[in-house]
Amino acid sequence: MSGGIPHAEALAAWRARTPAQPQALALPVPELLKRFHPDRQPGSMVPLRVGASAGLPCRAELATLLQSDSLVEDVDIAAAPMLDADVLVIGGGGAGCVAALTAARAGARVILATKLRLGDSNTVMAEGGIQAAVGAEDSLQRHFEDTLRAGHFTANKELVAALVSDGPAVIRWLIQEGMSFDLAEGSERIGGNLLRKKPGGATAARLLSYRDFTGLEMMRALREAVLLQPGITLLDRHPSLELLTDDRGRCAGAALHDLSLGRTVLARAGATVLATGGAGRLHIAGFPTSNHYGATADGLVLAYRLGAALREVDSFQYHPTGIAWPPHMEGQLVSEAARASGAALVNGLGERFVDELETRDVVASAILREMAEGRGVARGNSLGVFLDTPGLEREKPGILGKSLVTLTHLAHRAGFDAAAEPFLICPTLHYQNGGVAIDPDGWSGVPGLLCAGEVTGGLHGRNRMMGNALLELVAFGRRAGRSAAANARAERPRNIGLTHLADWRRALIAQGLPLTSKAPVIFPPYGNFDMATQRGRAA
């Protein structure tokens, strides 16, 4: 990235010109995206060379992981202790919890294995809300069409229909699990109406919320429910190193790694649900991320190696307003509510440069353009543009204290007053639009293997709408949990092992790909722990 205008100078320019006048984008949108969207840069995508989706364009950093060798050999699992369950759920975020609960209540014995601690996930960080078409003027059909349009008509219609049809029942289910929702002003708890907001790209107010920490409220309820549910064995600090197969190619569970004892444990299961979330911590294209620490694409790597097909793995969402300064908060999200309420984006010359209410990909690209062409704001080693919160406060006095509470706290933690000084922001890696291809019951196409949540693809096409991620994880967590429980005892796995790895390694060698690259990475590089070489250490 090139240098920008020094912060003090930029602040002076901003003060001199405030309020900056609206400015239409100087560049046609297709050209802007082509030149500045991170997914469109030369060399950013490569075709996959091995596996079920060979030929599919994929982000280069992700392709390296997808086309790498396993962390385990036969010798690693030879004497490993074996656990047994009907259903193995991998991932302790929202989708994993919902799948585990649903399967256990259907009578399955469940193991829930998670890399960090139950609940540590992107789910808990979600702020905005969850979509469900409950308004009288709204309909399932409108939710269906809005979601398809936002995804540039590349989503799978059957999946989207399943998603939106489940919406209202998902909200009822969440209330039954003890999650609260905001009510419309003046509404009573019985017989009132839910508070609804309009998410970007929607034709009706459909976003339900709990204050501005909807994900935390959801995760609290789900976490307690899982802890109290008979029939679920919880394994914290047990990342999955490799899926297991039986001699017919059916997924038979996973080789887990017990981090506290530094040893491998096998979990045998009739059905396995992957709910491992996204990939933000790969810092694709060098971006900071709003994702939690565990988002390292583990599930994509495991499923792909076992033969599952992927889709739209060349499409990621960069949220326009991540924090650029101070460095200790880099990448954290400044909610879209700021721009939706009217906060302007201002470059180092004190000028606006884009309609702030454009879609996320356009606004993010416009910001990157300012930064690339020397009109960004430089502060220390950080580069970004201003989000003019003081201008917003002047225009709508009291808004920062009343409705943008989280944003105001964020500024406080960064050590400044959002009403006096603008945020320094730059785009942050936010969501993986694609993933493992599934059917409406959550099946991946590999016998015995289901997927749910951000790890899947097909629901969002090439762009996800705000509020559809939380809906997805409950709707498809329930579907996958139900299918897994129903199927788990139909065929018990036998002769289980790593039989799929021989073919995989042959394919890598045939393509001249190195066997020295190992995945999944489990932890980001700044976690200072290489799973390939250091995992024998107890910690």
Binding site: G119, P168, M179, R237
Partner: protein, 229 residues
């Protein structure tokens, strides 16, 4: 990688802070969070970490003693910035030893809410008002007040106090009476929602769906791309 480079270059350029973290003497950059200082010092970060700075997951719990202070306090490592002479150590996660078991779906009679709270959390009425839970909470929640309100059956008031709980469970560790305040707080919150939240618009839409009055048409004009593009 951009992220690491940013961390490293900050360390090289900024003023140096010296602190002791889990027994390791480390040098950190001014302005870094404890969590970032730990990672930048090359120490393995494989637990006690989650949302990395948003402060909502409660995973990175630390005991912190500042220079010149006698007592250590609790904090979240992603929110607490490094200070010279600081001593910090992670507080490992542990689940509650005796889960207070209940089946939310079986709690249907709101007349017996007080009985239910007492039956599931019998220790709540034994609160000895030591304020240990209040001091332990990194979010400044009035935990003890919540426990007392819940024990008196004031479920809504108790639940409201636990609005900002991030499930760090430090109050569970602090309570000498094994009340498990974090789980009591979630119990009253969940009970309130499950027993009393009945939105009319949601119920109406669910009924329409049951009656087949919300069909989805794959071939509708709005469900397909416009012709020109």
């Amino acid at each position: 990688m951009y992220f690491e480079e940013a961390l490293l270059s900050e360390i090289e350029s900024g003023p140096k802070i010296q602190l002791v973290f889990d027994g390791h003497s480390i040098i950190a950059e001014a302005g870094a969070s404890l969590l970032q200082a730990w990672a930048a010092a090359g120490l393995p970060l494989i637990e006690n970490v989650g949302c990395m700075g948003q402060g909502v997951c409660g995973a990175c719990r630390v005991l912190v003693r500042r220079k010149g202070e006698r007592l250590a306090g609790t904090a979240l490592a992603c929110e607490m910035q490094v200070e010279d002479g600081m001593q910090a150590s992670f507080v490992d996660h542990f689940p509650a030893r005796r889960p207070h078991a209940y089946d939310l779906h079986a709690l249907t009679d709101s007349w017996t809410a007080l009985d239910q709270i007492d039956a599931v959390f019998p220790e709540a009425k034994n609160c000895r008002h030591c304020s240990g839970c209040d001091r332990a909470c990194p979010k400044g929640i009035e935990v003890q007040n919540m426990v007392n309100l819940a024990a008196a059956g004031q479920a809504f008031a108790a639940a409201a106090l636990f609005d900002h709980c991030v499930m760090c469970n430090l109050c569970v560790a602090a309570c000498p009476e094994h009340i498990d305040p974090a789980h009591l707080g979630q119990f009253v919150r969940r009970m309130n929602a499950a027993i009393t939240l009945r939105p009319a618009d949601l119920i109406t839409r669910l009924r329409e769906i049951d009656q087949g009055r919300q069909p989805i048409d794959f071939e509708a004009p709005g469900a397909n791309p416009p012709f020109e593009s």
